[in-house]
Symmetry: C2
């Protein structure tokens, strides 16, 4: 329903993504943390998310493989903070580019029964940020959030 | 011995710190990861580092309290990567400002028996970065690295 806004300003280390979901924040937060829900919507169309580890709590680690037509792509990180219904702070690394890590902060704000998600990713360098921006990340995010909209329409 | 260089450019998310230590990188790396060595040099003069948790390995968590004349200050995070003698990637949060987290990347390069340390910290916002820069962080880093120089002169 609502469009994803992705802000990538020249010369900065960050990517900021916002989207409004038509569900209370408890349900949106659960879809970001519950492994059975997360794997149903994460990633681009045509790709399955295979969770290898998913400890969605402060101090936990995570790893998944995104499997599709063009092969398998591993991603991994650690959860710095998982604050129920409020905030998730985690590291994120694409295993195809080892050593390049970003810090992702997701916040959830409820307004009139809907939830505004804000995701801030900060990268180790502007070059890393630009590389991520050029990787097709944008369509992956949009595909995933469209699937999440569908999931949230259930029940 | 060598001076610390701290680079803080206006309008950016990062702080870059470099320093050359007069020891091979195995010894410098050990001083950053071994709990008994780390607590001897970390932090400003006049403060003791009391380690609460220190799992210096990929996926581990850490927490310490810096205890001195002006009180006790807690810090905590998770280790995304600990690559022996090469690189440490971890999150860092001052418990006095909860929810403000940065991503720190330490790399160790050996040149002629000395070790060049580079620390890149990226913050969730430019404002957070500016707040850290204004916090007296610079003298804390310098004090700590002077103590580390002393420690490396032993044996």
């Amino acid at each position: 329903m609502a469009a994803t806004e992705i802000t990538i300003e020249p010369g900065r280390h960050d990517i900021v993504i916002t989207r409004v979901f038509d569900a209370p924040k408890e349900r949106v937060f659960r879809a970001f943390t519950d492994p059975e829900l997360f794997k149903r919507w994460n990633g681009p169309s045509g790709y399955d998310t295979v969770l290898d580890r998913w400890e969605a709590e402060s101090g936990g680690t995570w790893r998944y493989v995104s499997r599709g037509e063009q092969g398998e792509f591993g991603f991994r990180g650690v959860f710095h903070d998982v604050v129920p219904n409020e905030r998730i702070v985690q590291t994120f690394e694409f295993e195809g580019m080892p050593g390049h890590v970003c810090l992702e902060t997701a916040t959830f704000e409820e307004v009139d029964g809907r939830t505004r998600y804000t995701g801030v990713s900060v990268f180790q360098s502007v070059e890393d940020r630009d590389g991520m921006a050029a990787s097709g990340m944008e369509s992956g995010v949009n595909d995933g959030f469209d699937k999440l909209d569908e999931l949230l329409r259930e029940q």
